[in-house]
């Protein structure tokens, strides 16, 4: 579904991503973990075309991302920080995105009622709380039934009820055969959701494999300890 070959990204002299080769398949939740500044967000942004690769290629669903933008119709993205034009309402933003995607939002009603968002859709963004904006981001990412979901620390601002509903939503989508990429610092969440774990450090992939493989590899019982072990060993 997503093929990354020899990806390198440099900001000035700093190499943020180096020689990344990855293949992310459908029906899988892949978690990208790593310390702050390891290149997780840059990798996600490279897939989205927000960051231009210095070297290498990325293919999404068989299409090269370089110079193309229509491939993003297949992607739902939930950013780390949700900031929207303060004077627009969530409904206006949603209709803009419907216009851009030239698509109806298939799951709007269900997500609206589960997140209890219906009452917030007519208010301007400047009067919405951080968590509510995060829910709007989730709505935008999931509503159009994209084949690929990219979730950058999605539950960081959510309350426990919304967060648990959100995880149900992710599991649902996975069972439908979607390709899901997730970054998170909450290890229990990764343990709950991820099939595959990619450990990034200093812009390189240091581990790629299933949760069981990682636990076995590090001889640990919890993901948190196994990851801490990986970090300790490398740093």
């Amino acid at each position: 579904m997503i093929e990354i070959a020899n990806l390198k990204k440099q900001f000035g002299k700093a190499v943020v991503l180096n020689n990344i080769n990855l293949s992310l398949g459908a029906g899988n939740v892949t978690a990208i973990v790593g310390p702050n500044g390891s290149g997780k967000t840059t990798m996600i942004k490279a897939i989205l075309g927000l960051v231009k690769p210095t070297e290498g290629t990325i293919e999404v669903d068989g299409f090269k991302t370089e110079g193309d933008y229509l491939y993003r119709k297949k992607i739902g993205y939930m950013p780390q920080i949700a900031r929207y034009p303060e004077n627009l309402t969530a409904n206006e933003l949603l209709s803009l995105i419907k216009d851009l995607r030239e698509s109806e939002s298939f799951k709007e009603e269900k997500i609206l009622s589960s997140f209890k968002l219906s009452g917030e859709m007519e208010k301007p963004f400047k009067s919405l709380s951080g968590g509510t904006k995060q829910k709007v981001s989730a709505l935008i990412a999931f509503a159009f039934d994209p084949k690929i979901l990219i979730l950058d620390e999605p539950t960081a601002g959510l309350d426990p009820i919304s967060s648990s509903y959100f995880k149900d939503l992710v599991v649902d989508e996975k069972q439908k055969g979607k390709t899901i990429i997730l970054t998170s610092h909450i290890m229990s969440e990764i343990q709950e959701l991820a099939d595959e774990i990619i450990f990034l450090l200093e812009g390189e992939v240091r581990f790629k494999g299933s949760l069981e493989e990682l636990l076995k590899h590090k001889n640990e019982t919890t993901l948190e300890r196994a990851i801490a072990e990986l970090m300790n060993q490398e740093v």
């Binding site: 942004k45 989205l48 933008y69 949700a82 303060e86 004077n87």
Partner: protein, 262 residues
């Protein structure tokens, strides 16, 4: 509907509701209202109004434009994760912002015109005043966007915007005066015309003076200016330069925006 038009419409809806644009509209209304009400001479009121327009529009367009783009960064990232190309997004944001600023100016200033000014008599002058205001809005929003795209640091970007305004609105006139004074013995008419065309703020002021028939007060230079800017060729050249002031910064910033990492 094209992508640019879609973005433009939403940007317009966002900025037109911004309290700054509302204040800006109110400002022009109040200035127009007080000038026409408290000044006995309508012509003097027009000139004062022109002087205010020529300073305020570039300043507000530069500052509002650059702050707006800096504050839209996360929204731009969000939009770029949707199926839209960078050029359409950037063009849409640019026109959305400049059209709402221009609308604020036109609405604010038109109400006192309609209520108090002798619109029928000064039809041409008012049209020129509105057109110059709109052109300056588009020009300085384009420059603000260029500064904002090429400079990631918000404080520096704002600094550049204010500095540029000072140079074009204040320092430039000093420079022109210096040339007039220093080379007073030489025929300077052509150089003066060129110098006035290069700076959009000066060009705006002169076009207004010519169309308002005040150039006669400026003596021989005024007559030369009247002959040039009042004629067809002069009008075309002025319009072309105004257009270039929009197109050059807009094209450069679009190119930078296309290559930028977010």
């Amino acid at each position: 509907m094209s992508l640019v038009k879609k973005i433009l419409t939403y940007e317009f809806h966002n900025t037109i509701r911004s309290k700054w644009v509302i204040l800006y509209t109110l400002f022009f209304f109040l200035v127009g209202y007080s000038l026409f009400t408290f000044s006995g001479d309508v012509n003097k009121a027009y000139i004062s109004l022109m002087n205010i327009i020529i300073f305020i529009i570039p300043l507000v367009s530069l500052i509002f434009g650059s702050i707006y783009l800096y504050n839209s960064r996360e929204f731009i990232e969000m939009m770029l994760s949707q199926p839209i190309d960078r050029k359409s997004l950037f063009t849409g944001i640019y026109f959305g912002t400049s059209v709402s600023l221009a609308a604020g100016f036109v609405v604010g200033i038109s109400i006192p015109f309609i209520l108090f000014a002798n619109v029928g008599q000064q039809y041409e002058g008012i049209t020129v005043l509105l057109l110059i205001g709109i052109a300056l809005t588009f020009i300085f929003t384009a420059i603000a966007f260029f500064i904002s795209v090429s400079q990631d640091d918000k404080a520096k970007g704002l600094g550049f915007s204010i500095l540029l305004w000072l140079i074009l609105a204040v320092v430039y006139d000093g420079f022109v005066l210096f040339i007039v004074y220093y080379f007073a013995e030489y025929p300077l008419e052509k150089i003066m015309i060129v110098l006035s065309i290069i700076n959009p703020i000066d060009l705006g002021r002169i076009l207004f003076l010519i169309k308002f028939n005040i150039a006669a007060l400026m003596g021989y230079t005024g007559a030369v200016f009247q002959q040039f800017f009042g004629g067809v060729i002069g009008t075309i050249i002025s319009a072309v330069f105004m257009l270039l002031w929009i197109l050059i910064p807009l094209t450069l910033s679009t190119q930078l925006f296309k290559k930028k990492d977010f």
